[in-house]
C-alpha cells in the first residue's frame, strides 16, 4: 500500500511568535522553521506501517515556498522514500491545499493519506477533512491509534467524550493526534541517504489547481495582555465583584 504524508513547514514550536509591524501577519523573516509536529507524527506512523509490512512506499508532500524542500528532506531522513514539492509563493489556504493534495492523489494513487490534524501556525484543522470530502474517501481524524484489519483500517479517535474507534474502508484519509506515536530521531545513515532520495517539484498550474485565496485576512493582532489576578478578602467581596465589576453573575 502506497502512503502519502503531507508535511507543512511552520514556525518552530519553540519560537515566540511576533506580529508584523504592519499587522498583515506574523514575522517569519530570520525565524527558525520546522516540520509541523502533527505532520512529524504522520511521517512516523507511515514509517511504522512500512516497518510492519503494510505500507510499501511513503511519499512526503509539501506545498509552499522553495524552502519547503527542507521539510521534505527531514521526512526523507526519518524514512520516507521520496518527496513531492508543489512550489508556490502564494498564500495557500486549506481548501487550496486540499485541492492540490487531491490532484497529487489522482496522480500517485495512494491508498492512504496521513495528515496532521492541524498545523501549529494557523490551527485551521480543515485540510484532512476537506481532502477526504473532495476525494469521497473515508476519514479518521484525531487518530491516537491506527491498525489495519484486512482491507479495513481501525482508527481510534480522540473525541471530546473519550475515545471512539471507527472502521474505515480503504482508501482513506487519517489525521494524527498528539498521542498517536512519538516521532523518531533521524538516523545518520538515513540523513546521508536522504540526499539521494528524489524530490519532484511541481506547480499548482501543472496540477491544474486554482489556488487563489477564498478568504481575506484583514488584520493580525496580538492577543490582549492578560491582566494580573486580584486577591479578595471574603466570599462576599468575591460575589460582589463578580456581580458588579465583572458582571458575570
Amino acid at each position: 500500500m502506497k502512503v502519502l504524508v503531507a508535511v507543512k513547514r511552520v514556525i518552530d514550536f519553540n519560537v515566540k511568535v511576533r506580529v508584523k509591524a504592519d499587522k498583515t501577519g506574523v514575522e517569519t523573516a530570520n525565524v527558525k522553521m520546522s516540520m509541523n509536529p502533527f505532520d512529524e507524527i504522520g511521517v512516523e506512523e507511515a514509517i511504522r506501517l512500512k516497518e510492519a509490512g503494510i505500507a510499501t512506499e511513503i511519499i512526503a508532500v509539501s506545498l509552499g515556498v522553495a524552502q519547503c524542500q527542507e521539510t521534505i528532506r527531514t521526512a526523507l531522513a526519518m524514512g520516507a522514500d521520496r518527496g513531492i514539492l508543489v512550489q508556490s509563493d502564494a498564500e495557500l489556504q486549506p481548501l487550496a491545499v486540499a485541492k492540490l493534495l487531491k490532484a497529487i492523489v489522482e496522480k500517485e494513487k495512494p491508498e492512504l493519506c496521513i495528515l496532521g490534524k492541524q498545523a501549529i501556525d494557523d490551527d485551521c484543522n480543515q485540510t484532512g477533512q476537506m481532502l477526504a470530502a473532495l476525494l469521497g474517501w473515508a476519514q479518521g481524524t484525531f487518530a491516537s491509534k491506527v491498525k489495519r484489519e484486512g482491507d479495513r483500517l481501525l482508527v481510534t479517535r480522540e473525541v471530546d467524550g473519550g475515545l471512539e474507534t471507527v472502521k474505515l474502508k480503504l482508501p482513506a484519509v487519517v489525521t494524527t493526534d498528539l498521542r498517536l506515536n512519538e516521532p523518531r530521531y533521524a538516523s545518520l545513515p538515513n540523513i546521508m541517504k536522504a540526499k539521494k532520495k528524489p524530490i519532484e517539484t511541481l506547480t499548482p498550474e501543472q496540477l491544474g489547481v486554482d489556488v487563489a485565496p477564498r478568504l481575506v485576512t484583514l488584520k493580525v493582532e496580538e492577543p490582549p495582555k492578560r491582566q494580573g489576578g486580584r486577591k479578595v478578602a471574603s466570599v462576599a467581596e468575591l460575589v460582589d465583584k463578580l456581580r458588579n465589576e465583572a458582571r458575570v453573575i
Binding site: R73, Y185, I191
Partner: protein, 386 residues
C-alpha cells in the same frame, strides 16, 4: 563563498541537538551530584546512539562508522558540547588514530571500538610530561618478540570505562638536528594485561562525572603485534590523526557557550528589577551583545578550520586559533552568563555554575592556551626566519 549549512548538515545538527536536549539534559544534575554515570545508564545511552547510526560518526564508513567529514563532525561535536561530558562520552567517538590499525589490529581494536563493543582511551600525559610530551618517561623495551612497558600516565580521560588504551611510550633515543630526542612509539594495551593497572585519578573542578585516571605499567608485556604503526612513529601517527581533537575542544566550547548564552538571554527578559526587565539595562544588554559576538566569532573560526581540513589543507594554525579563542571565549561567556543571573547563577539548581566550572579545563587540556599561542606564533614567524 557559502556560510550556510547544507540540508544534511542541518539535519545532523537538529538531530544531535534534540537528542542532547531530550535524552541527556534531564540526567545532568543527578550525574553531577553523584559524580559518576552508572554503567547501565551509560550503556543505555550507547545503545540509543548505536540504534540511530550515530555511533563512531568520525570513523569512515568502510570501517562501519558514520563517515562524517570534518565539518559534519565538528558540527556534531558542537551540539554535543552543550551537554555534560560524563554523558556524551557514551556517544562513542573512537580516536581517529585507530584508523592506523593494520591487519588483525582492525579486528581487535578498530572495528569493536566502532561498533561500541570496546571503548578506547588515549594515554599520553604523565606527571612529568604535560605540554612537554616528548619528555615522557614511560618506556617500552624490546624483549624477544614482545615489548615490556614501564612507567606511569595520569590525567587519562575516561580510562575508567575503557577496554583498552592507546599508549605512547619511549622506545629509545636518537640524534636529531635539534639534539638528542626520545623515539616515541604507540601501543594498544588491553585492560587486564598483567602489569597494567588503571587507578582512579584526581577529583577535578571541571566535568565531575567524567573521570581522569592514573595508569601504571610495571613490566607489562605486550606482543609486537600490538604496536600501532612502526617503532618510533608515535609522533608521526599522533600528528597525522590527533590534530582534530583540538578542534573538538573548540567545537564543544562553542556549543556550551551557546547554551549558557541562551539561558542568560531568556533570563534577561524574564527577570525584573527596578520595575523593568534587566535586559533593558545596558549593563546586561551590552554583555549579551558581546557574548553573542564572541560566540559567533569562535563558531566561524572553528567551522572554517574544519573546512580547511576537509579541503586537505594543513590547518595547524587555524585549529590552534579556534581552540585558543573558543576556550577563552567560553570562560568569558559562562562568567558573564553567571553574572547576569546574579546570586542564583552560583546555585547548583541551575546548570550555569557547572558550565562555568567545566569551562576552566578547556584552556588547559589538549594543549594549553600558551601552547596554542606558541603554535600560532611559530607558524607566523618561522617563514620569516624567526
Amino acid at each position: 563563498m557559502d556560510f550556510g549549512l547544507s540540508q544534511e548538515q542541518q539535519l545532523v545538527v537538529d538531530t544531535v541537538r534534540r537528542f542532547v536536549e531530550d535524552e541527556l539534559y534531564p540526567l545532568e544534575a543527578e550525574v553531577e551530584r553523584r559524580g559518576f554515570v552508572p554503567r547501565e545508564l551509560g550503556r543505555e545511552i550507547q545503545r540509543k546512539v548505536i540504534a540511530l547510526g550515530f555511533y563512531a560518526p568520525n570513523i569512515p564508513q568502510e570501517f562501519g562508522g558514520g563517515g562524517l567529514d570534518h565539518l559534519g563532525f565538528t558540527l556534531l561535536e558542537r551540539e554535543l558540547g552543550r551537554a555534560a561530558m560524563a554523558l556524551t562520552v557514551w556517544w562513542g567517538r573512537p580516536s581517529n588514530i585507530l584508523c592506523a590499525c593494520e591487519g588483525e589490529q582492525r579486528e581487535r581494536y578498530l572495528l569493536p571500538a566502532t561498533r561500541g563493543d570496546k571503548i578506547d582511551a588515549l594515554a599520553m600525559t604523565e606527571p612529568g610530561a604535560g605540554s612537554d610530551v616528548r619528555g615522557m618517561s614511560c618506556t617500552a623495551r624490546q624483549a624477544g618478540g614482545d615489548w615490556v612497558i614501564n612507567g606511569t600516565k595520569h590525567f587519562i580521560s575516561h580510562a575508567d570505562i575503557a577496554d583498552f588504551v592507546i599508549l605512547f611510550a619511549a622506545t629509545g633515543e636518537e640524534e636529531t638536528r635539534s639534539g638528542r630526542k626520545k623515539r616515541i612509539s604507540c601501543f594498544l594495551v588491553d585492560r587486564g594485561t598483567p602489569g597494567f593497572e588503571i587507578r582512579p585519578g584526581y577529583n577535578a573542578v571541571s566535568h565531575r562525572g567524567y573521570h581522569n585516571c592514573i595508569l601504571s605499567f610495571s613490566d607489562c608485556r605486550v606482543p609486537a603485534s600490538q604496536m600501532l604503526g612502526g617503532e618510533g612513529e608515535g609522533f608521526a601517527l599522533a600528528n597525522a590523526w590527533l590534530h582534530a581533537t583540538r578542534l573538538t575542544v573548540a567545537a564543544m566550547c562553542v556549543g556550551r557557550a551557546r547554551r549558557a548564552f541562551d539561558l542568560a538571554l531568556r533570563y534577561a527578559v524574564e527577570r525584573r528589577q527596578f520595575g523593568q526587565q534587566i535586559g533593558k539595562f545596558q549593563g546586561v544588554s551590552f554583555k549579551l551583545a558581546d557574548m553573542s559576538t564572541e560566540i559567533d566569532a569562535a563558531d566561524y573560526l572553528t567551522l572554517a578550520a574544519a573546512w580547511q581540513l576537509d579541503q586537505g589543507r594543513k590547518a595547524d594554525r587555524p585549529i590552534a586559533e579556534a581552540k585558543l579563542f573558543a576556550s577563552e571565549m567560553l570562560a568569558r561567556v559562562t562568567d558573564a552568563a553567571l553574572q547576569i543571573y546574579g546570586g542564583m547563577g552560583l546555585m547548583e539548581d541551575l546548570p550555569l555554575e557547572r558550565l562555568w566550572r567545566d569551562a576552566r579545563v578547556e584552556r588547559i587540556w589538549e594543549g594549553t592556551s600558551e601552547i596554542q599561542r606558541h603554535i600560532i606564533s611559530r607558524d607566523l614567524l618561522r617563514p620569516l626566519g624567526g
